[in-house]
Symmetry: C2
Subunit: 229 residues, 2 copies
Amino acid sequence: MSIVLYDLCGADDRRFSPYCWRVKMALAHKGLPFETRPVPFRQIRDICDGAQTSVPVIEDDGRIVRDSFDIAVYLETTYPELPSLFGGAAGLGLSRFVDKWSVLEINATLVRMIVADIHGVLQPDDEPYFRETREKRFGARLEEVQEGREERLETLRAKLEPARQTLARQPYLSGITPLFADFILFGTLQWARIASPLQILADDDPIRPWFEGCLDLYGGIGRSAAAAA
Amino acid sequence: MSIVLYDLCGADDRRFSPYCWRVKMALAHKGLPFETRPVPFRQIRDICDGAQTSVPVIEDDGRIVRDSFDIAVYLETTYPELPSLFGGAAGLGLSRFVDKWSVLEINATLVRMIVADIHGVLQPDDEPYFRETREKRFGARLEEVQEGREERLETLRAKLEPARQTLARQPYLSGITPLFADFILFGTLQWARIASPLQILADDDPIRPWFEGCLDLYGGIGRSAAAAA
């Protein structure tokens, strides 16, 4: 039986969640058959056992696993004979560091630059929930949070410097092949690509060829999602 | 024959270099016999083949290797039968990311908080070179660069958050055992510990038990270096 991934969706079936992208790439990397079930924010409470509050969530032969990192660890443990997501215990440990760095340094900065754009790609019935929770979180209207983002691009790009310098020395964050740590940063950039017209990476950013390469992995599942106009 | 490590030294044979500490920990982790040769800044040009401009440098049976990360890779490649520093190719790749993060985010912030203290622990004959090069780099007198550092402590501690949250989930950055990625951040904190009385980590910082544990590794070679008064 195929693994089911509950995948956040917006209007026009846009799948923009950075954390769901991590999992799609992980499933594809393992070569596991999976189907995605689109879920708008307001229906997350209705999936699986009714106890879920965020996606991604996977169902695998009756087992329910949530949280993108925990899902990756679950897949690695459950399917050790399939291509590894971590390349061993050290790779797993250090991938967790990349996860924390990505969430704290990159996603937290980026969301303030695209949050009104994200609102703009939601299903209309999701808009009130999203606006209310995010405006409470940021203490300002979404449009104000995003305002002046062009001036913050340099800050975001500077925060990406550790990844940039790493990719100047080796093809992937994980070294010579793409593994889950790559999917972490890929998910972040794919989130922006799908939800926002803002160009995060400069044309000549060395991170760009790595990202383009990731879009083409596994039959191009990343690239098959349309970029924001 | 023992490996020789050229190890930066200050007055009273203080060994404070973060990059030399990475290598000492790496050599100890591999269980390789080594001796250190103390080198003040002004004598780096005299070591080995006269072509070296920074330390750490190791000499291993006639081979000269420089740069802490390259030395770790060299040791891993040359002594694959000894305990691994990376835990495989993914661990090596991701350790490079930790290296870039540490240098760009942590060391670059920290040095501006302890640079006058470092000057204070040098051999007197090293002081003019250090002052001149660092004041040129920072565009201000060392004392001015360091001034007001207490107000910058929160910024530095916030930058450590990815490591903090990782260590809240697992004993080491590298997962379940300490590997080179741990020695990278250890070297940074050991640098501050030896050169400066400034307390980088709050008393209740969860990074602290990890650091204390690292000080005790391999017979306590880290702890055997006296902390700044």
